[in-house]
Symmetry: D2
């Protein structure tokens, strides 16, 4: 089951700067068999459902291991059976209309 | 890894009424080893990470099998290591302040 | 423009307990001309777009005034022109299928 | 009140292809006094709260006018008083750690 997803991680209880924690998750995500693209408000992901979820679980564990007592994680998943579509396809189909 | 989560499912390409599809997911979620509470804009869930994700994957498969060609799924996950907390605890801690 | 929405507030930089801040937002929301229903992972809202957004802005200002240096706010909005629908309608249409 | 936000629009009841509707919203957003950056799963936005909300409302109206009977709109808002931060700053602070 191939999905396109977006992941946003919000560490709580470790101050107002998140970059150290988001960078650790980027390292974890890019080491997995998924495509990853960081943007200002989250990370777009393309991959197989189980691979994405294993990576997400590794991120949660890693952040708690770094001392984060509480974290929020928002995952938006898009799944379609009517056609194959990549992250690039989605952007291009909008830009083609502009 | 115990989490509290919220799941919102948006079937696309099958008209404007979602209740048939959301009801099918409710049946799947309640058959799993997780706690489930439906509200107006989604379903709150309490359970173990792997159990929740298996249920989510079953929902995606079931909806595609019902003829949904495209679906969006939003999952908000809350994980904390500092204390045990249930869905009821979260509501009560706010209501205690009101 | 009548909408059904869900609001989730995540204060950052003030420790791991959110109930004090969520309770303050509940007070603000219930004082406005909108319908509000707290659940474990957020607050469902029914009202006119401008009323909801004014309440959301008041929440942001109030939390910063309480000393919250950074906050995340997730707003899910549902708008439809094909029929009138309340928060109760949405839950009942799913439960009728179960 | 300056915010960084992310907007995702899901038109319902008009088939499985969204690009026409997302392009229309891009046109509306870029005509407003806000910064906009399209990515695969949404659009990042930087601007003043009232300007962003006026643009969001214009998008909802425009999509209904295009014949969309139901739509979902997800808005993630980040507000901070401790420092000025742009969308570029957020990406660079993560990339500096990688």
């Amino acid at each position: 089951m191939d999905i396109i997803a977006e992941l946003r991680i919000t560490p709580v209880g470790v101050g107002v700067s998140f970059s150290r924690y988001i960078a650790e998750c980027e390292r974890i995500l890019t080491a997995e068999n998924i495509k990853v693209r960081l943007h200002a408000e989250g990370t777009d992901i393309e991959g197989e459902f189980d691979d994405v979820m294993r990576a997400v679980k590794l991120c949660i564990t890693a952040l708690h291991d770094m001392g984060v007592p509480r974290l929020m994680l928002d995952l938006h998943i898009s799944s379609r059976t009517d056609k194959l579509q990549t992250m690039e396809d989605k952007i291009q189909s909008v830009e083609a209309q502009l």
